[in-house]
């Protein structure tokens, strides 16, 4: 069931401990996200898992293989997309893909076919013959992902796949990641963006200053974020008149009048939309808008890490500048 098992993994650079005895597991077929601020140790962890860095201590098991001693075997079944592209500037997109495929021992006919397929899938078929250095940032990121999956890896590692590219490219990349996952690829990614973690991941590990402070499913995190369940209704009559009737029928809820026509209902217990809709209908009020307010992961993040999101983003952008 678990395809990656990490136990007490540490990495020191001299006296500095970048990663401190972290343990976690990734399930086969899931999208697991590592979320954390700058310098938390995300890249260092990916480097250890993929064979670019040697752990100071701890154990890694990937697909049943020892991830330290047997790394060359592991590398055959994993794909790696680094935070910054590591393709060849002078070579065309197509040549880059074909070359990467050959590193995995793919035969000529097969790698050429696969390269064309991927260029098409990533909408890069028009630019496949242009040198990589002429690509835009988003195109570079896409080609780097294509290169990472050229050999159909069982597990794909992505280091900040959506950082530094525009909204539309990021959206396309999220879609690609989801499609890959739907086809069965296990995905391990790192990100700064709460929204990404929330939209993409099944489970999230929070890493701060080299420590994994929490691992949880997005669903559980949401629930934890706000013990309260909140709904907002916009109706065609003054909500104040309905307050007592509402409380009478739903004694466990709290009611807040946001504006004359807008009511916020909250409860620590689970509440459903339909009973309230029916209530308003019975009262002869027409509901023009009803929404369930989702708890924000951002709040959980702040609660767990003690780090303000805005500061996180500023730091990141400052660094990239």
């Amino acid at each position: 069931m678990y395809i990656i098992n990490v136990k007490d993994l540490s990495k020191s650079f001299g006296d500095f401990k970048a990663v401190k005895e972290i343990s976690f597991s990734v399930k086969k077929g899931e999208i697991f996200g590592f979320l954390g601020p700058n310098g938390a140790g995300k890249t260092t962890t990916i480097n250890m898992l993929t064979g670019l860095a040697l752990p100071t201590s701890g154990a890694i098991t990937i697909a049943g293989l020892d991830g330290i001693k047997n790394i060359k075997k592991v590398q055959q079944i994993i794909g790696i997309v680094p935070d910054e592209s590591n393709l060849y500037d002078e070579m065309s997109g197509y040549d880059n893909l074909v070359f990467c495929a050959s590193l995995y021992g793919m035969e000529k006919a097969r790698r050429e076919k696969r390269a064309l397929e991927l260029l098409k899938q990533f909408s890069l078929d028009d630019t496949g013959n242009r040198p990589f250095k002429t690509y835009s940032k988003g195109m570079k990121r896409k080609l780097t992902i294509a290169a990472g999956i050229i050999h159909d890896p069982e597990i794909l590692f992505l280091d900040e796949p959506t950082t530094g590219i525009d909204v539309e490219s990021a959206r396309q990349i999220r879609k690609l990641i989801k499609e890959l996952n739907a086809k069965g690829t296990t995905i391990f990614l790192t990100t700064h963006y709460i929204e990404d973690a929330e939209r993409l991941c099944h489970r999230i590990g929070f890493i701060v200053s080299g420590k994994v402070v929490k691992i949880s499913s997005v669903y559980d995190l949401m629930n934890e974020a706000q013990q309260e369940n909140i709904m907002e209704f916009t109706i065609d009559q003054n909500g104040e008149d309905l307050e007592s009737a509402l409380l009478h029928q739903f004694p466990h809820v709290a009611i807040k009048q946001l504006s004359p026509y807008s009511i916020k209902i909250s409860s620590v217990e689970k509440i459903e939309l339909m009973p309230f809709m029916r209530f308003f209908e019975e009262q002869g009020a027409i509901v023009s808008e009803a929404k369930i307010l989702r708890p924000s992961l951002e709040e959980v993040f702040v609660k767990i890490t003690g780090i303000e999101i805005n500061r996180l983003k500023e730091e990141k952008e400052g660094k990239k500048r």
Binding site: F13, T50, G51, L52, A53, L54, K72, K73, Q75, Q76, I80, P82, E84, S85, N86, L87, Y88, D89, E90, M91, F99, C100, S102, L103, Y104, G105, M106, E107, A147
Partner: protein
């Protein structure tokens, strides 16, 4: 099977991207010609081209290989594309052999360009081609691995170039080309004896002009020893530095 496929791909890519690029090709031709002209001008009496052939060949190989590794390895490290190779399922030894084979072949080809010129200009009969080829091969291997050693120690291309000169120029002056070894000042002679190029040049002197100071098998063993040790030390450094 899988490894050999990757090996050839890396080699082919380097050939296409670096070695067969016009600046390198022309460099391989201009360099030996300049050396030859320099020798001609330096000497007051007419020189026999054949006498300077071992030196020109050895230096072409030395400069060719060490310069190329600064590009194929240090440059790729800077641009991070080298990481892609480290992440590939090929053993590190195999990977580094693939990366260095290109330079070795380039060095060998460079060595024979002056021979082609000499062929039209002078009489080349009586050359022991067997040992000439062995000599050139060993010089190419040793200087390539010396270049590898340097490339691993440097972080920037210019660093690698500067660092190479630190090795190249002393070797050039002390290997017995400009001045026969017995005429070198006594205190620098030991340096001469520890430099691999000295032995490489000596093999070529033996095979081309039938001179030479050392027994040929000593030179062969010394060069082999240098090649193996430089490769092993470089591999050790790579494991320590690049898989940090």
């Amino acid at each position: 099977m899988r490894t050999s496929l990757a090996f050839w791909s890396i080699l082919r890519k380097d050939m296409k991207n670096y070695y067969l690029k016009p600046p390198n090709i022309s460099w391989g031709i201009i360099f030996p010609i300049s050396w030859t002209l320099m020798f001609f001008m330096r000497s007051a009496t007419p020189v026999d081209l054949r006498d300077i052939l071992p030196g020109v060949m050895a230096l072409s190989v030395l400069f060719g290989t060490t310069s190329m590794l600064a590009v194929t390895i240090t440059f790729e490290r800077r641009s991070r594309s080298f990481e892609r190779l480290l992440l590939a399922p090929i053993s590190l030894n195999m990977l580094m052999l693939a990366k260095t084979t290109g330079a070795i072949v380039f060095g060998i080809v460079n060595a024979f360009i002056p021979v082609i010129f000499a062929f039209f200009l002078t009489d080349l009969s009586g050359i022991n081609w067997f040992f000439t080829i062995i000599g050139v091969f060993l010089i190419a291997v040793t200087s390539t691995f010396l270049g590898l050693f340097i490339a691993v120690s440097a972080n920037e291309v210019f660093e690698a170039q500067t660092f190479s000169n630190f090795f190249r120029f002393p070797m050039m002056f002390l290997c017995g080309l400009f001045m026969p070894m017995e005429k070198l000042p006594v205190f620098v002679r030991p340096f001469s004896y520890i430099l691999p190029l000295t032995y490489g040049v000596d093999i070529l002197k033996f095979s081309i002009t039938n001179t030479g100071n050392f027994k040929i098998w000593i030179s062969l063993i010394v060069l082999l020893g240098y090649s193996v040790s430089l490769f092993l030390v470089s591999m050790y450094n790579i494991r320590k530095k690049w898989i940090y």
